[in-house]
């Protein structure tokens, strides 16, 4: 090859790299596949994963059972070694799988259009806020104060270029939207309104359907897709945009990433939507075909005026979600959602039996998680639990300082009675 190009040694190919910028790469020598596996295995063995140390963390990222069929599909190398389906003729598989994903999400949310993923739930929310700014002139985006610090920070960062300000409204005694507080904040200058159900507190909020009547500004609703098997579609509640995290649909927690940013909207707004979308069309023979579409919204065509800068998304996670949803189907998802509520109710009751603990803090319908108030700093409790081989819930102090003595406890179908009982008995012991 070098002969053919007419060079004597490989470094001649780098003669255009000036001496002044040359440098050496001070990494150690390479090692064999076996050694890599051993070394990484050794490092990872320092982790205590949820299979070893039962974990009661949730907040948008859950330890659910992943059917083996899901992994089998995503490990098909035709899928996972492919790039973005820019050439539809040899990408029909990925395109159809993503179209099916979009379709499932549309069914769940009650909207007609969905994109084929954003990075995660938080960035989907950020993009939704930006989309509101495209749909509407207002200068304030309203969101609940019951958000994780992560979401608030991402939201602020995504609004930075729009000139829209973020304003937060409060919650009521039952953990739902504080309608009075919200009322006072809804003005003509409203760019968009965001609410969640279930929200940070795990509360399925009966007040979210009331919000549509309060403003003409775009309404963004944040959801957990599993809850949607039981709960009315946000599209039917008047939502213009629905966001959420779909990690719970067949993906591991992976120390937080990748997640799966769900994003759906009304058909009339598709051209203002961020992210990639797959559309139905035909091939030259008139057969069914799919392709990426509405690409003029996107950065590779519209560049600085694109609806978003997103390019690489999390397509494979969306495929996993599509398989997961088809594996369960409607009735399977309903059963799974119910099981998760039942697990949460059981834990809630057990914890409430402990003296000095209020469980739940909010008397409402919950999904997966609920807030408990402890007589000791939650951070301290978690330290003690850790020593006993348990991972407690999320201390809320860093997120909603008003609930500084509270912990958000999550449970899923992965926790059997024994696991919950053990947790509760250790908790009782240490309090």
């Amino acid at each position: 090859m070098m002969d053919y190009i007419g060079i004597g040694f490989e470094d001649e190919l780098f003669k255009d790299v000036p001496e002044e910028v040359r440098c050496h790469l001070p990494l150690p020598k390479g090692i064999s596949e076996r050694e890599v596996s051993k070394e990484i295995g050794r490092i990872l063995s320092k982790n205590r994963h949820a299979g070893e140390v039962p974990s009661f963390l949730g907040v948008g990222c859950y330890d659910h059972y992943i059917p083996a069929a899901v992994d089998h599909v995503t490990s098909r190398s035709e899928f996972y070694t492919s790039y973005t389906p820019y050439q539809p003729e040899i990408s029909q598989g990925m395109l159809q799988a993503l179209f099916e994903y979009q379709s499932h999400i549309c069914e769940l949310t009650g909207l007609d259009a969905a994109n084929c993923s954003m990075y995660d739930g938080a960035t989907a929310l950020g993009e939704a806020a930006r989309m509101c700014a495209r749909l509407n002139d207002g200068d304030v985006f309203l969101a609940p104060r019951s958000l994780t610090r992560e979401k608030v920070s991402v939201l602020r960062n995504y609004l930075i270029g729009t000139g829209v300000e973020l304003e937060l409204y409060g919650w009521d005694d039952d953990g739902g939207v504080d309608l009075d507080d919200l009322e006072g904040r809804v003005t003509d200058g409203l760019c968009g309104l965001y609410a969640e159900t279930p929200n940070l507190f795990g509360v399925i909020d009966a007040r979210v359907p009331l919000l549509r009547a309060m403003t003409d500004a775009p309404l963004v609703v944040g959801v957990n897709p599993l809850t949607l098997a039981l709960m009315r579609a946000p599209g039917d509640m008047g939502a213009d945009i629905v966001v959420g995290d779909g990690q719970c649909l067949g993906s591991p927690m992976n120390y937080g990433g990748p997640g799966l940013g769900l994003f759906a909207c009304r058909q009339e707004h598709v051209r203002k939507m961020p992210g990639r979308v797959i559309g139905l069309t035909e091939d030259t023979r008139g057969g069914q075909a799919f392709c990426m579409t509405l690409q003029t919204r996107e950065q590779h065509i519209r560049r600085g005026r694109a609806t978003s800068n997103i390019c690489t998304n999390v397509a494979l996670v969306a495929v996993a979600a599509a398989v997961f949803m088809s594996y369960h189907g409607r009735d399977g998802l309903i059963a799974l959602a119910k099981e998760n509520i039942d697990r949460a109710r059981r834990l809630m009751d057990l914890v409430s039996d402990i003296d000095n603990v209020q469980s739940p803090v909010f008397d409402n319908h919950h999904f997966n998680e609920f807030v408990v108030e402890l007589p000791v700093k939650p951070e301290k409790i978690n330290c003690i639990l850790a020593r006993k081989g348990l991972q407690g819930g999320l201390p809320l102090s860093a997120h909603v300082p008003e609930l500084g003595d509270c912990m958000l406890l999550a449970t899923t179908e992965m926790h059997d009675d024994d696991t919950q009982d053990r947790f509760v008995s250790v908790l009782r012991e240490v309090l």
Partner: protein, 478 residues
């Protein structure tokens, strides 16, 4: 070509809706959902059949320019499937997550060494996301100095995400044209620079595969104006072990782990787009930061100048892990060799195509080059798009087409280091045969793909993005 693949949603769902009362507040109960359940045998046949209609790097050559379609080594996937990777929650007590934290800490160090940057954040979820994080850092930096700078300069050859990210961060874009040699026109740059300039975004080698030799000079010009120099790391695969963004004078950089470090592209993602900065910018990096603590590694959230969060968690750990495994496997010498072979492959293929396709600009190229179908279009009416579709018939994924826009009928070709000489010869033979072929055959291609040429304008016109929409249109048309 194959019969239409049925949609999952084309299956029926049982009548009625299971009772859900008591599980959600009254009045919020769901009462319909079209989500068919498919038993595992049929489910797998469906998705496996779909996968067989898809082309990945494991299917054949994938010389897609700018995308660095390396082989995705299987050991990395195997490691990523361990429960000690998957079943870890990012809010776990640090004491439970020392393994994950150590991988991340080591990865930060390795990326620092590769890029010549002083501090790395692994948080951004993809390249464009890293760009955005970097632009937020640029903002925070200038703001911290009380400066108001509202412009970002981008060369016309830049990837679309560069201007899009700068714009998203609120910057006004100033586009500068490339010079005769395909490099940044330094005079145009000088003219564009001002005390409104927040940053210049650049990739080197640029998207034409040409190394910007005068990068030091350029860096000096940018810095002289008090602006920052940003490196789009998508082309890092060309230069590892030879030079680094740090050595070239860049202040910030993003990486594409899914390009340079061989993690799967996943049909569009997930990837990972860490951002690296020189020491003076470290305080602005996203939180939390991984730090040493008496008990081991810990997460530090107390960084008042930080831009905060760019996503909801810690970054795409499952991707970071794979990339770290790849870096360990290659080592310093191996990464350097990757770059050498990538560049050798690119120059070999370029040479083989010369005389059949125009390849504008002078030698040498780095890991990719841009050929043009301009002459084919003029002489035979065969466009870059047609060449691309015809390559499909030969089991080769087409190059990137129509990018960068400054080359007419562009075919942007990046073979990566993983193609053998035999495979490069096949790519060349195929592309040459297409240039010489009866145009009618080329224009009607592909002939042997699962579907014929796809009508993309109909898709735009109809904008049918879901089964729901499809059915409501069908009902509407009755």
């Amino acid at each position: 070509m194959r019969p239409d693949r049925r949609l999952i949603m084309d299956r029926p769902v049982a009548d009625g809706y299971p009772d859900v009362s008591g599980y959600v507040p009254e009045g919020m109960e769901r009462d319909s959902l079209h989500l068919p359940r498919v038993e595992e045998p049929e489910l797998l046949r469906h998705y496996i059949a779909l996968s067989r209609d898809n082309f990945g790097t494991d299917s054949g050559p994938y010389p897609l320019g700018s995308c660095t379609m390396k082989h995705n080594p299987k050991y990395a996937d195997r490691l990523a499937s361990l429960p000690s990777v998957g079943r870890m929650h990012h809010h776990m007590d640090e004491g439970h997550a020392q393994g994950s934290l150590e991988i991340m800490r080591r990865m930060e160090r390795a990326l620092g060494q590769i890029s010549g940057m002083d501090a790395i954040s692994l948080q951004p979820s993809a390249g464009a996301h890293g760009e955005y994080a970097a632009m937020l850092i640029v903002r925070a930096y200038h703001a911290s100095r009380g400066e108001e700078r509202d412009e970002v300069i981008v060369p016309d050859s830049a990837h679309g995400t560069n201007p899009a990210s700068a714009a998203m961060a609120g910057y006004r874009l100033v586009e500068i044209p490339s010079g005769e040699d395909g490099c940044v026109d330094l005079e145009a740059l000088e003219a564009a620079l001002s005390d409104r300039t927040a940053a210049l975004m650049l990739t080197n080698p640029n998207t034409l595969g040409i190394f910007e030799r005068r990068v030091k000079e350029l860096a000096a010009m940018v810095h002289a104006k008090g602006a920052l120099l940003y490196y789009d790391g998508a082309n890092l695969n060309a230069i590892m072990g030879k030079t680094s963004p740090g050595a070239m004078g860049f202040d910030l950089v993003h990486f594409n782990l899914h390009k340079t470090f061989a993690t799967p592209h996943g049909g569009g993602g997930p990837g990972s787009g860490p951002v690296g900065v020189k020491a003076f910018l470290e305080e602005f990096l996203p939180i939390p930061r991984i730090v040493d603590d008496t008990h081991g590694l810990a997460l530090d959230w107390a960084r008042p100048k930080s831009i905060g969060k760019v996503n909801g968690a810690m970054g795409n750990f499952a991707i970071i892990l794979r990339a770290y495994a790849y870096i360990l496997r290659q080592g310093g010498d191996g990464l350097k060799e990757c770059s050498e072979r990538a560049v050798l492959n690119s120059n070999y293929l370029k040479k083989r195509l010369e005389g059949h396709y125009e390849v504008p600009f002078a030698d040498p190229r780095k890991h990719e080059f841009v050929a043009s179908a301009r002459n084919l279009k003029k002489e035979k009416g065969v466009r870059a798009l047609d060449v691309a579709k015809r390559m499909i018939d030969h089991g080769i994924h087409p190059p990137t087409i129509y990018f960068p826009a400054l080359v007419e009928e562009a075919l942007m070709i990046e073979p990566t280091e993983d193609e053998t000489m035999e495979s490069l010869d096949r790519i060349a033979d195929v592309m040459i045969s297409i240039a010489e072929e009866d145009p009618a055959t080329v224009l009607a291609a592909p002939h042997s793909a699962p579907v014929g040429r796809v009508d993309e304008s109909k898709a735009v016109k109809d904008a049918v993005l879901s089964y729901r929409r499809m059915m409501s249109l069908r009902e509407g048309s009755r």
